[in-house]
């Protein structure tokens, strides 16, 4: 019944808008009987000024967005060794974009205003100019060449993992809708695995090869702990559909593809504890908690539970559509010192001891 009423109401609203537009339409006809549907000098003038107004609107929205929502804590505080390099490239690209955007939008809208039509005016017959065209071909070529070269150096240095650094090997294992991490243990070699070896009765949930000696000391966890300033190389697997391991604070992302192993490596440089003390982050967390406190008031008033206080944590998110609960596929990441990591690792069960 409500559904039916809603449809009726929506229809009425649509009809009402339609009628209002019609009235507007009819009112216009009376004022200008000679209206041919083609813009007059008056139209050109009004719309010319509106073009300038619109230009100012574009500038205003740009400034508001940068000031209010340019999430600086996240954008300027990367927590990995390659992060600042990537952020630098980002800033350079943004500056170039900002300059080009400001100038071209100005020219476009200003010309639309300045050269608005008037009766009797004649446009300049100006069909071609090779010099001008050469200029705006060559300038983008130079700028882009710079960006491409810079970008490719950055990309190569991020993606080429140096195995000589002896990175800690960690497998990220994705499934609908959660993450697991598998540590390689003392030998730092991940045991062989395939989903065909999964044996839920024996609690071999990731399909490790039980006969592989390298697998015996592997450790499977539901939280990702990393050691600060120690390179880590992730080997990604998925058991069902595509997922994407996205770690925005570390400027890291790689898809997890069923049937193949993908990889991504980086070095975390800021511990969770340090990041929580970062003044930018403190401010952000405070802002978020104010919002949550407000929301909690509403919730409690409606008889619900108050939201928990938020404390900053690094996160691993799923960033490739993977099904119904895609929006809640996450894992906490904790970056800590070697001692803290070792203490945590001691509490975990090795694979050989975890089987039923």
């Amino acid at each position: 019944m409500t559904a039916f009423l809603t449809i009726i109401i929506v229809l009425f609203v649509a009809v009402a808008i339609w009628q209002m537009v019609k009235i507007f339409d009819l009112a216009q006809v009376n004022t200008s009987t000679s209206d041919t549907g083609v813009a007059t000098d008056y139209d050109n003038k009004i719309n010319g000024y509106l073009m300038i107004g619109f230009l100012l609107f574009i500038y205003a929205i740009t400034i508001v967005c940068f000031v209010k929502w340019g999430d600086l804590p996240l954008m300027s505080n990367s927590a990995s060794a390659h992060g600042p390099e990537l952020d630098n490239l980002m800033i350079i690209s943004m500056v170039i974009i900002f300059i080009v955007q400001t100038i071209t939008q100005f020219l476009l809208h200003y010309f639309a205003f300045k050269y608005r039509g008037e009766k009797g005016k004649k446009a300049l017959f100006f069909a071609d100019n090779n010099t001008l065209e050469a200029i705006w071909t060559i300038i983008p070529v130079i700028v882009l060449a710079g960006l491409i070269i810079y970008g490719l150096f950055t990309w190569t240095s991020i993606m080429n993992v140096n195995e000589d650094d002896d990175p800690m090997m960690v497998e990220l294992y994705a499934q609908q809708f959660n993450w697991k991490a598998r540590y390689a243990g003392q030998d730092n070699v991940l045991g062989q695995a395939n989903v065909r070896l999964i044996d839920l009765d024996k609690a071999n949930i990731l399909g490790l090869d039980e006969a592989d000696p390298n697998a015996q000391d592997d450790v499977i966890t539901t939280e990702l702990h990393l050691v600060v300033n120690k390179p880590v190389l992730f080997k990604m697997r998925s058991q069902d559909v595509l997922h994407s391991a996205y770690m925005p604070h570390f400027r890291a992302q790689m898809n997890c593809v069923p049937g193949m192993i993908t990889q991504f490596g980086f070095t975390p440089t800021v511990t969770t504890a340090q990041m929580r003390e970062n003044p930018d982050m403190v401010e952000k967390v405070q802002r978020i908690n104010e919002i949550r406190a407000d929301k909690s008031k509403d919730l409690v008033a409606k008889g619900g539970e108050a939201l928990e206080r938020y404390d900053f944590d690094y996160l691993l998110l799923c960033n490739k559509i993977c099904g119904k609960s895609h929006y809640n596929m996450q894992m906490k990441i904790i970056v800590e010192t070697q001692e803290e990591f070792d203490a945590w690792m001691k509490e975990q069960k090795e694979f050989k001891n975890s089987l039923n």
Binding site: I7, V10, V21, F24, D25, T36, G37, V38, A39, L50, F54, F57, I58, I61, W69, G70, D71, L74, M75, L86, L89, M94, I97, L107, F111, A112, Y115, G117, A123, L124, F126, A127, L132, E133, P140, L144, I148, G151, L152, W155, T156, I158, N194, V195, I198, L200, Q239, D240, V241, Y246, H249, V257, G259, L307, E308, Y310, I321, K324, Y327, Q330
Partner: protein, 597 residues
């Protein structure tokens, strides 16, 4: 060339021509002008569906998990108590994307304007094959109907994202929508591709063979160049999507393993072995990327034409404009990998695709600068079509510039699949192409329906749409840079993003206002068909051939002989002429030189 057309002329000598019935005139019409209108109306209906879907999921994002009577009314069992279900959210996102990209901005845009303008602007009686043209439309209609039917199947419509990456799209146990819904999606798309190919082949043959006397390739209006090259890209890339769809059907229904391997789901191992989802991504994006140019090139063509006509100035750099269309078309087929930087493909390939991708910025920049120079020192007639054209250039620049970030593999790592991507492609190909389409409709409405659209409603429509488009998509860049992934049903499980919740509310409010104001356009469109002011033959005082044809639609376009062409299509404000435009069928004056272009 003209001999061929002349035989047509003979067929179309009126009077003793067999009388057309309602069915042959309005339904199974073979006349390109009627087919264009059929495409436009069908595209409009699909567009309304697509936009309503987007408004629904925008409301869900802004006010997550809140009961909403609209959801209850429109989604039925998918919104128990008015709270949107997470599965239907993904389905809405998926079908919105599919409808807008393929049904509105490919078929609706190309189908309408290629059909309307190719014969009229090159001086032909009709398309090379009127019959194929009719078949092409009805296949499109059929695929639209199947797509709409897929919304009503028990387990829900396709919900794997418009890119339908397997295994999610291949396994019904991974997602409800991957059952019957996905089957219908694939069938609909296969038919759509057939329709698109028939249309494209027809456009190509017509442009090559049926140009009137004097209409050399270098005298073609830029619209025709754009439609022509668009059709060529379509013919090259759509078959690859068809093959991907067929292989996916094989995997889904016949147990092959093209895209699937080593899958353990719901407690059991599936038999698939040896396939790779990455292969599907390659096949999909081999169409998927050219597809965005299939969408944007016709809009570019329309805008070039409208800008020149309304600036009363020749388009600046005709040769460069044609060359950049060709360059974009060529590059568009070798950049698909930039959608796959972090798909697990070799990082070296990523480098190659970064290089080719950023090259596309060069012809795009040339086009943008040429448009700006076209309006410089013009005598701008700010008709609604012109406003939409200026709006097109504005959103094309704004959206195009962020492509420099996304096309750069290193930067893509952190913004891939976030709202930054949504903002980028909606501005550069969604909103821009839509503006191009609106510009085309406002400009050629008199040609299509013999009546003028109300210009004041047009102004209202443009300004509200323009503000809302920026209001929706500009802030989206920033929530994307803050790391918010796309296709999340709600963000409430991530306190990290709580301070972005108000941005999402603002975006949704802009979207709702913009969406509702499209009613102004719909009113204008449908009421002007019957009550609009009658138009004169050449209301915008343009040079191209369609305006030399009579207002009343006749089969064969021109009474008597088809016009001959003596000059290029951009003789606006040419010195030595009293009028500020010289139609293409006016012979050169004695001593007058055609511009060397």
């Amino acid at each position: 060339m003209s001999t061929h057309a002349d035989t047509h002329a003979h067929d179309d000598d009126h009077g003793h021509h067999h009388k057309e019935t309602f069915v042959t005139k309005y339904i199974f019409s073979q006349d390109h002008k009627m087919i264009a209108k059929q495409y436009l109306i069908t595209g409009t209906i699909m567009g309304v569906i697509g936009v309503i879907m987007s408004l629904m999921f925008r409301m869900q994002i802004a006010w997550p998990e809140q009961p909403n009577v609209l959801f209850e009314a429109l989604l039925g069992k998918w919104a128990p108590e008015g709270v949107m279900d997470a599965d239907i959210y993904l389905a809405l996102v998926t079908i919105h994307g599919t409808i807008m990209v393929f049904f509105v901005l490919t078929a609706g845009l190309s189908g309408t304007f290629s059909n309307l303008l190719i014969p009229l602007q090159i001086g032909a009686r009709d398309m090379a094959s009127g019959f194929l043209n009719m078949v092409s439309y009805w296949l499109f209609f059929l695929s639209s109907v199947i797509m709409v039917i897929s919304l009503f199947v028990e387990a829900g419509p396709a919900a794997a994202g418009w890119t339908i990456y397997p295994p999610l799209s291949a396994l019904p146990m991974a997602q409800g929508g991957s059952g019957m819904g996905m089957t219908l999606w694939l069938v609909s798309m296969a038919i759509f591709i057939a329709s698109s190919l028939l249309g494209s082949l027809n456009y190509i043959v017509t442009v090559i063979n049926l140009r009137t006397k004097g209409m050399s390739m270098t005298r073609l209006p830029l619209t025709i160049w754009a439609f022509f090259i668009t059709a060529v890209i379509g013919v090259i890339s759509f078959p690859v999507l068809l093959s991907a769809a067929l292989l996916l059907i094989m995997d889904r229904s016949f147990g092959t393993s093209f895209f699937l391997s080593d899958i353990f789901i719901q407690g059991e191992v599936l038999h698939y072995q040896g396939g790779s989802p990455v292969l599907f991504e390659h096949l999909f994006w081999f169409l998927g990327h050219p597809e965005v140019y299939i969408v944007i090139l016709p809009a570019m063509g329309l805008v070039s034409e409208i800008m020149a006509s309304n600036s009363r100035k020749p388009i600046f750099g005709y040769r460069a404009m044609v060359a950049s269309i060709l360059a974009i078309a060529f590059l568009s087929t070798i950049v698909w990998g930039h959608h796959m930087f972090i798909s697990g493909m070799n990082p070296f390939l990523g480098s190659v695709f970064t290089f080719t991708t950023l090259l596309i910025a060069i012809p795009s920049a040339v086009k943008a600068f040429n448009w700006i120079t076209t309006i410089w020192k013009g005598n701008l007639q700010l008709n609604p079509a012109m406003l939409f054209s200026i709006g097109f250039v504005s959103t094309f620049i704004t959206g195009g510039l962020t492509g420099i970030i996304l096309g750069d593999s290193a930067l893509d790592i952190n913004v891939h699949d976030t709202y930054f991507v949504i903002a980028h492609f909606h501005l550069v190909m969604g909103i821009s192409a839509l503006y191009g389409m609106f510009a085309g409709i406002y400009h050629w409405y008199p040609k299509m329906f013999g009546r003028m659209l109300n210009k004041n409603l047009g102004y209202l429509h443009f300004w509200v749409t323009a503000i809302c488009a920026y209001g929706v998509f500009f802030p989206m860049h920033f929530i994307g840079m803050a790391g918010l992934p796309r296709r999340y049903y709600t963000n409430s499980n991530f306190p990290l993003f709580d301070d972005l919740a108000n941005v999402n509310v603002i975006i949704t409010i802009f979207a709702l206002i913009g969406g509702v104001f499209q009613l102004v356009y719909l009113y204008n469109f449908f009421s002007s068909m019957f009550f609009g002011k009658k138009t004169v033959q050449n209301p915008w005082r343009s040079t191209t051939l369609e305006w030399t044809a009579p207002v009343k639609h006749i089969h064969g376009n021109w009474e008597g002989e088809i016009p001959h062409v003596y000059r290029w299509s951009y003789d606006y404000s040419k010195p030595g002429h009293d009028d500020d435009f010289v139609p293409q069928n006016v012979p050169l004056k004695e001593g007058e030189e055609e511009l060397q272009h």
